[in-house]
């Protein structure tokens, strides 16, 4: 059969309903499928078993502090901008037990978390999200210390990417060089046409998921249409960010009055960091029973906007909202580059959309640049 499968780099066309066979193949291969679904007035990621659960025909209007579902009036499977969920929530869960410790005679016994990590198939990963996963790989796997929990989930994950054809009002992935075209590693990457999907094969594993699917090699017409849709998306970004020498701009303007201005508006509520697909800060909690004989160490999401985050003996290192917002933005766009070699921002726009008061980092940067 193998000779009947396309090879990595090749592009094929399938009918839209045939995507269900890909879902079935993933399910048979033991994957838990996570895909966009319509829930709680938004398009979020959750477990699915059928393509019928995708938000077919739906999109969302986005803006600063604003998100509203809308019907498209067509039958698009992936015709919406990214919602509030991130794949980070699956690779780096909001709460994870690391180990437990029990008192044992005179000493104690430590038992690491030996839960088998789940095998996820991520359906509909956008280019900006692929870029975000690559950034978290650098943080959790490729640095001097490896996070075994992230690494195990990441290595097992199957990625069915989608070239974005529907950027939102808060999107600027093109400015960040992160999208809308999927260029980072994936197993399969779809481009949605009106009646078909063009699928680029990213790996032999991805090709195997087409075993029960009727496919044909994409012709010039389909490839041209797919390419046009992605190019159109690139030209429809709702936002732009001038990235030229952002580190220099921010490091030279640490006392810029704009930080006071944004501090008046910022709630320090942590939403931007938690919807950000690259923010990775965590805290450790030791949870013991009443006698202290049994304790669990749990890792939970944390945020640089939390009062306790930068509290050390003697007081707060970053004692107010101005200091916290400045730290977040400066890390995201400048010192992240010093630390990890790339920007920490992929231009997905989530921090703009899901900020309850609609603070827009592209606007903040533009203001600092204009008045610098």
């Amino acid at each position: 059969m193998a000779e009947n499968l396309p090879s990595p780099g090749e592009q094929v066309v399938i009918a839209k309903p045939a995507l269900q066979s890909v879902f079935k193949a993933l399910d048979s291969a033991g994957y838990t499928l996570i895909a966009p679904v319509l829930r709680n007035e938004a398009i979020i990621y959750d477990e699915v078993s059928s393509v019928d659960e995708l938000p077919i025909g739906w999109t969302a209007e986005t803006g600063p502090g604003h998100y509203r579902l809308e019907q498209r009036g067509d039958e698009s499977f992936f015709g919406f901008p990214a919602g509030p969920s991130t794949w980070k929530g699956y690779l780096y869960p909001s709460r994870l037990k690391l180990f437990s410790v029990s008192k044992n005679g005179g000493g104690y016994q430590t038992v690491p978390n030996q839960d088998v990590s789940p095998s996820y198939a991520f359906i509909g990963v956008r280019a900006c999200e692929l870029a975000a996963i690559a950034i978290q790989d650098r943080v959790f796997i490729e640095g001097p210390f490896q996070d075994p929990h992230y690494e195990a989930r990441r290595e097992k994950a199957f990625i069915l990417a989608v070239n974005c054809t529907e950027p939102g009002e808060t999107c600027f992935c093109a400015s960040m060089g992160a999208g809308p075209r999927c260029t980072q590693a994936f197993d399969l990457a779809l481009t949605e046409l009106r009646d078909a999907f063009v699928i680029e094969i990213g790996s032999p594993l991805g090709a195997r998921m087409l075993l029960d699917v009727e496919w044909s090699f994409a012709g010039a017409l389909e490839l041209g249409r797919a390419d046009q849709k992605i190019t159109d998306a690139e030209n429809q970004m709702g936002r732009t960010l001038d990235t030229s020498d952002l580190p220099g701009l921010l490091y030279d303007n640490l006392e810029h009055p704009r930080w006071d201005d944004v501090a008046e508006r910022c709630l320090s509520c942590t939403n931007c960091t938690l919807v950000c697909p690259t923010c990775f800060c965590s805290d450790m909690k030791d949870i013991s029973d009443l006698t202290g004989a049994n304790t669990e160490r749990v890792r939970v999401w944390d945020s640089c906007f939390n009062p306790d985050f930068s509290y050390v003996h003697g007081g707060h290192l970053r004692p107010n909202i101005r200091a916290r917002y400045r730290q977040w933005l400066t890390h995201k766009l400048a010192s992240w580059i010093d630390q990890f070699g790339t920007s920490g921002c992929v231009g997905c726009g989530r921090c703009i959309t899901w900020c309850p008061v609609g603070i827009d980092l592209t606007e903040e940067i533009a203001a600092i640049r204009d008045e610098a």
């Binding site: 508006r265 939970v300 999401w301 939390n306 009062p307």
Partner: protein, 260 residues
């Protein structure tokens, strides 16, 4: 607390609904462990027998609203090694602190058939306005998990691990979509201390601020956003003037928006 005798626990009630002290009985699975770890010396809702002080841990529910309560809280303080104020009434004055903005006699005359029976202070104020408080547990009602964590930490002799984050962090951790951004519902979550596991937004309701203000929050900016979403100043003021309305940060916000 590592003496041979079990630490003695007392639970006192002031002006309140009893919901917070019932959180202790609500511990169910852990209740026997608590009863095994401490001597429940004074807890009239749980034990008919009452033992005289002093007590190692005293949980105080309710706000101070009468002259008699002022004297009683002073005596409770004298009898207590660790005095812990529990719940919105004990830590902020509770919903009954609405009286602090008006003439209480208007309420008394409206509510009671025989107002002359009522002997009350003009204000409802938190326990810490009258005596030194060692620790506060927020919430309306408090979280039983936080109560257990507090008792555990006191028994072991370490600091309790309690959240300093906003309700938003709990919505995001549990995967609740923001009701303000996606539905335009005013929600106090961004300026409210977490601890409730963000229960209201999970049911498509805005946060009511049960756990009181988060440290270093920005309620004025949030209130301005509510007005941008179409609320009147009076509505914004009322949103802040809830169970924790008399907590200083919410009090200032409610007064700021009152005439906007």
């Amino acid at each position: 607390m590592s003496t041979a005798a079990k630490p003695r626990l007392a639970v006192y009630k002031f002006a309140s609904c009893d919901g917070c002290q019932l959180s202790l009985l609500d511990c169910e699975d852990e209740l026997l462990a608590v009863a095994g770890a401490v001597e429940i010396a004074y807890f009239v809702e749980a034990r008919r027998q009452t033992l005289a002080g002093p007590y190692d841990i005293t949980l105080v529910e309710g706000s101070v609203t009468t002259e008699e309560e002022i004297e009683r809280i002073k005596e409770v303080r004298r009898q207590s090694r660790f005095l812990v104020a529990i719940g919105a009434c004990a830590t902020a004055g509770g919903i009954q602190s609405l009286r602090n903005w008006i003439d209480v006699n208007d309420y008394v005359n409206t509510v009671y058939a025989t107002p002359e029976y009522i002997d009350t202070l003009a204000t409802s104020k938190p326990i810490s306005d009258y005596v030194e408080v060692d620790f506060e547990l927020r919430g309306c009602p408090i979280s039983k998990y936080q109560l257990l964590e507090l008792v555990t930490s006191l028994l072991i002799g370490r600091l309790p691990h309690l959240p300093s984050h906003s309700v938003c962090q709990e919505c995001k951790a549990r995967g609740t979509v923001c009701v303000t951004v996606a539905q335009g519902i005013p929600c106090l979550g961004p300026v409210t201390l977490g601890g409730c596991w963000a229960i209201c937004p999970a049911f498509n309701r805005g946060c009511y601020g049960c756990f009181g203000p988060v440290e270093d929050g920005n309620p004025i900016a949030l209130g301005e956003q509510f007005m941008a979403l179409g609320q009147t100043g009076a509505q914004v003021s009322r949103a802040f003037r809830g169970f924790n309305g008399y907590a200083p940060v919410f009090r200032q916000a409610s007064e700021y928006f009152e005439d906007k």
